[in-house]
Structures are given as C-alpha cells and as structure tokens.
Symmetry: C2
Subunit: 178 residues, 2 copies
Amino acid sequence: MTFDDSEIDLFYRKLETRTFKKKEFLLEEGSICKFNYFIIKGVVRSFFITKNGHEKITQFAIDNWWVTNMESFIKKTPSTQYIQAVEASTVLYISRENLEELYVANPKFERLFRIIAENMLIANLRKNDVFLQMNSKDRYSDFINKLPDFIQRVPQYMIASYLEITPEYLSELRKQVT
Amino acid sequence: MTFDDSEIDLFYRKLETRTFKKKEFLLEEGSICKFNYFIIKGVVRSFFITKNGHEKITQFAIDNWWVTNMESFIKKTPSTQYIQAVEASTVLYISRENLEELYVANPKFERLFRIIAENMLIANLRKNDVFLQMNSKDRYSDFINKLPDFIQRVPQYMIASYLEITPEYLSELRKQVT
C-alpha cells in the first residue's frame, strides 16, 4: 500500500513528535490513553503491577512498531497498564480525534489502520499460542527467531518477565541457544 | 455506523450462508481459513490439540459474533486451530476476495472491518489480562458478568477448558456464585 506526497503530508499534519527519556512514561495505569504511538527510534514496554507488587511485562515495541493501550484508546476507559520508555525513544503520535479526521479525509487511512489492527491481533493471538503450547525453552527460541532485534536492545530481565521465565534460567538458555 | 438499503444489498451479495451440524468443523487444523464467519444463530468454539492430546479451547462465539482464524485468513497460512460447531449453527460467511471487493466498492466496509478487528483485539487483550491477573474464581465471575449468554449455551466442561480450571472446581464455583 503506497501513499503519494499529498497523502503523506496530510498524515504528518495530524501527527506530533516527542522524545521520551529512559524510564519516562508514555501512559500510566488509571489514565485514559489518548494516543497511538509509532516508534521512530527506541524501545518501549507495556506492563502492569500484579497484586503482589511485581511488574508483569505484556508487550515490547521498537523502531517502526505502533503501540497503544487499545481498549483505553478506543473506548476512552482508564488503562490497566503502563507504557514506559526502556531507552530514550523518539515517537510520532496521533490522537483519536486526528485519526478519525484522517479516516474521513481519505479512506486509505482507514485501510492502513484496519491492516495495523489486524496485524496487532495476529501478533497477540500468536503470543497466546506460544504461551499455551510451548515450554520456556521453546518460547525463548521462538522469540529470538521471530524478534531478533529485541534480544539486542531489551534488558535480559525484562525478556525473562515477558516470557515468564526466571532471569537465571534465561541466562542458561542464552548459553545453550547462542 | 449505519448502512442504507443499497449498501446492505451489496454486503449480502458478497456473503454466503450455511448451517453446520453440531460437532461439524468450520475449519480444521492444517487447512487455510478461507472465510470470516458471522454467527446468525448458534455456538462455535476454537481449539487446538495439545502435545498431550488434550483439547484446549481458546475462544467461543455465539449469535452476532464474527469468528475466524485471523492469521490463517489474512496471511493464507495453515491454521493451528480448529473451529467447530458446539450446537447446530447457522452462519453467514465471506471470503477474503469478496471482502477485498467490498473494501474497494465502498470504504464504509473498510471502516466496519477496522472496527471489528479493533474489537477482536480488545477482546483478546482483555482475555490476556484476565488470565494474567485473576485466580480461577475471579476468572469465572468475570466470565459470567461479561458473557452471561455463554453460560446458558456452552457445556460446562468446555467453559472449564477455556478458563483453565477443572470441571469439578467449576461445578463448585457455580454453587457459590449462582
């Protein structure tokens, strides 16, 4: 799917840009997620705090990925999760209102975001499959095969949290697999 | 979002209808999912077979829900899951090709299926939240609060499989909650 100069220009006029410092929050639990973020350069993570006070990471996003809390963004309900910069991250972001204006201005944007939503859904369903069907060693192999860039840029203890394995066991797996 | 008579007529011309008997498969593991299904009346389930030979249910759909294997449908890859009628079910279904023709004919359909994909994503993310954050008793309460119709129409042992609790414990919970 391609966009001509005037369409790209229209898109950029609806987008804003911002740089988040390492550990800065793009979204905090309890707030309404006002934006859909596109990572130009950086790494962010989504996580929630468990009843026992631990962080549970549910998603990473790096360069060229979109990230938001979809339910909060679409339904304007308080987010159950945080989104936080893992390293200094430069993002483009668009509000719900600007996105609706884009859809009305040109249906190609409706198409683009339909495809993005479908890909987000597929990624999520695939993650569920991995967690239901694979042991921790296979989960780690699957992760490095499908998302090799993440291994280089995300701290090990965060990958362990995401894959639901202990940091010690992850360290063992790294020795075996690499 | 509303459609006029000519738009509804266009939609129906791209849809086909079929009735599946109880236990009949809409999709088998290893096949490419050619259709997105809308349940007119009935109950279907998605499931896969674990390495140990057990069925693991990942989704139910009843009247007025869309159901497909999104990755297989979009990427034309073999499905990792089955979709099967839990009771006799009458469905409308649309092929990938007909859906693309609808998008081109009228961008309102692009919009409709963008919203459907977002809602499928939200439902899936919410399910993940429930499984990560709740114990089995809370998962059951959440399920009956959010999806009361399902409790009436889906056999208990299937709900137990979906919620990852034993049928015996589900039976206990039903006595406590209802």
